[in-house]
């Protein structure tokens, strides 16, 4: 029997209210359970909108008009309330401030918000909160007020709140944008662990070096459509992707000294290419 895809978009198009063109689509896309997909592209390519459409916020929260099919775990998002889907799928917003409940005064209480709202037993809530704080390195800050955190700490809190829901599908909109490099490495280690355990991950990321090193599959978006879809070494060597999304730093450096094509897209491949 064929696997039910985690995400299916078929002829999907979405337009925000009071706008004159589709922010997304038409787009066809299937993400299978356990895949780790990087999403790249310039500003306004539709990367965040893709996340909103998959989680159902577009159109359930933003309004506007969705046409075609968007399904998560085989159920069309249009007919499924967002809170029902939030048991199995979670979105990390680009601006972590958006994610705060605004109702909790301690970091650990904020992390407990989701599991409590879904009525999980207290012992399980506590276990999940402890795990999420450990994974995001926030144990020492658990008693802080969320509004006393720095930008990067807030981003880790938003992720912890999401991980406490133990979602099967993680949508991450620039998860490292405010993290320091050590924090980014730690986050990517967490994601590697989740990926190995079978979590499906869709990750919007501007650090193309990270996408090239981590994601077996990359989707490049441009003007709401799929420009390229494939392995990083293939996608980042496409001229139209290089012209819009740019290229990983190691590919840029290799090109500067006259290597390629094809350009190496990871650190290891660049060391190899430049030694030769």
């Amino acid at each position: 029997m064929a696997l039910t895809p985690s995400v299916t978009l078929a002829g999907a198009r979405y337009r925000y209210p009071d706008t004159e063109r589709d922010a997304l689509g038409p787009i066809d896309l299937t993400v299978l359970p356990g895949e780790w997909v990087g999403v790249v592209g310039p500003t306004n390519a539709g990367k965040s909108t893709l996340c909103y459409a998959i989680i159902g916020l577009a159109p359930q929260f933003f309004g506007g008009r969705l046409r075609g099919e968007v399904s998560v775990f085989g159920s069309p998002t249009a007919s499924q309330p967002v809170n029902e889907r939030s048991r199995r799928a979670g979105l990390l917003f680009q601006n972590p401030f958006t994610q705060l409940s605004g109702a909790r005064e301690r970091v650990d209480e904020e992390v407990a918000f989701g599991p409590e709202a879904h009525g999980l037993p207290q012992a399980e809530v506590e276990e999940r909160v402890a795990e999420a704080l450990r994974l995001t390195g926030l144990q020492d800050l658990r008693a802080r007020h969320p509004l006393d955190l720095s930008g990067g700490q807030l981003q880790r809190l938003a992720l912890a709140a999401l991980l406490a829901m133990r979602p099967e599908l993680l949508l991450l909109d620039e998860p490292t944008s405010q993290l320091d490099p050590a924090g980014s490495r730690a986050l990517f280690d967490v994601l590697r662990g989740l990926h190995a355990a079978g979590t499906t991950i869709v990750m919007v990321e501007h650090r193309l070096e990270a996408v090239a090193a981590l994601c077996p599959r990359v989707i490049a978006l441009g003007e709401g459509r799929v420009l390229a879809d494939g392995a990083p070494a293939e996608v980042f060597n496409r001229p139209e992707v290089q012209a819009s999304a740019g290229m990983p730093a190691f590919a840029r450096l290799a090109a500067l000294v006259g290597k390629g094509p094809p350009l190496p897209v990871t650190f290891e491949a660049a060391v190899e290419a430049l030694r030769g």
């Binding site: 592209g41 310039p42 500003t43 306004n44 965040s48 680009q94 601006n95 401030f97 802080r144 006393d148 955190l149 720095s150 930008g151 990067g152 700490q153 880790r156 620039e174 944008s177 405010q178 993290l179 320091d180 490099p181 050590a182 924090g183 980014s184 490495r185 501007h206 193309l208 070096e209 819009s244 999304a245 740019g246 290229m247 730093a249 190691f250 840029r252 450096l253 500067l256 000294v257 650190f267 660049a270 060391v271 430049l274 030694r275």
Partner: protein, 270 residues
């Protein structure tokens, strides 16, 4: 002449959240493109808010462009320091991009024509010329960041602070920012860029300040900032891509920045 001088600056949000303890921060910064880097919670944003009086030190003094900050209100510092916040939504409140960018020079009482010209120039530099009449909240995060940057530039201040300007920026946005930061530094301004984007630092900034756990660990030329790997690790940083690649290929000392990398690679024996 140093454009920013901090002497023994101590600051705490509360006794539970100390940031700069005794003996405090002492730091002199030249007119240049300067990067402020360090781990999350190191005190980077706090430091910048002490420069324009949004926060006041518990002890010590801050002098910016010859002005003792303690004697001035935040509003009086506005012509001296342009400030683009980390989270644009903390800053934006006008109905159009043009009004937002004009706000600073307008409340400073500058003549209408001067304001108009300054706003046009700032919008142009920030790639917003086509969006002057748009509501800021109809823009995506990366564009809202550009509105805060244009607002910081509109009053033509000698000191510009950009807190995480690369946030959400795509490749073209980073290139624009890179050119802008270099140009501001070249005009004899001090532009202080708070960032985690180490490649951006290597490319765009001549001077780097490494702040870690409330202490200045390094302040000097960017070209030498990444020589001490222990310090880099301690501050939660990483090597710029070009430096890391050159090191793996045997460079010692390793070049910083694309130009230095290319120059170094060209003279390698094949």
């Amino acid at each position: 002449m140093a454009e920013i001088v901090l002497r023994s600056v101590c600051f705490d949000y509360s006794s539970a959240v100390p940031v700069f303890r005794e003996p405090g921060i002492t730091l002199s910064l030249p007119q240049a493109a300067i990067a402020l880097v360090g781990e999350n919670g190191a005190g980077k944003t706090t430091l910048t808010k002490l420069l324009n009086g949004l926060l006041r030190p518990r002890a010590g003094s801050v002098v910016v462009a010859g002005t003792p900050v303690a004697e001035r209100s935040v509003a009086q510092m506005a012509p001296v320091i342009g400030y683009a916040f980390q989270n644009p939504d903390d800053q934006l409140f006008e109905r159009t991009v043009r009004d937002e960018v004009a706000f600073g020079p307008r409340v400073m009482g500058r003549p209408k024509e001067t304001v108009q010209a300054a706003v046009d120039r700032a919008l142009d530099l920030c790639g917003l010329a086509g969006q002057a009449s748009t509501h800021p909240h109809d823009l995506v995060l990366a564009e809202r960041k550009w509105v805060t940057i244009a607002s910081a530039l509109a009053a033509d201040p000698p000191v510009v602070i950009l807190d995480e300007p690369t946030l959400g920026q795509d490749w073209a946005g980073r290139e624009r920012l890179h050119a802008l930061v270099r140009a501001l530094g070249g005009q004899g301004r001090l532009v202080l860029v708070v960032t985690h984007d180490i490649d951006f630092v290597a490319q765009a900034c001549d001077w780097t300040v490494v702040l870690s756990r409330g202490l200045v660990r390094y302040s000097g030329k960017t070209a030498l900032a990444f020589a001490d790997e222990g310090r880099i690790e301690e501050a939660g940083l990483e090597l710029p891509a070009a430096t890391r690649l050159a090191r793996a290929l045997g460079a010692d000392p390793a070049p910083v920045g694309d130009e230095a990398f290319t120059a170094w690679y060209r003279v390698q024996p094949a």
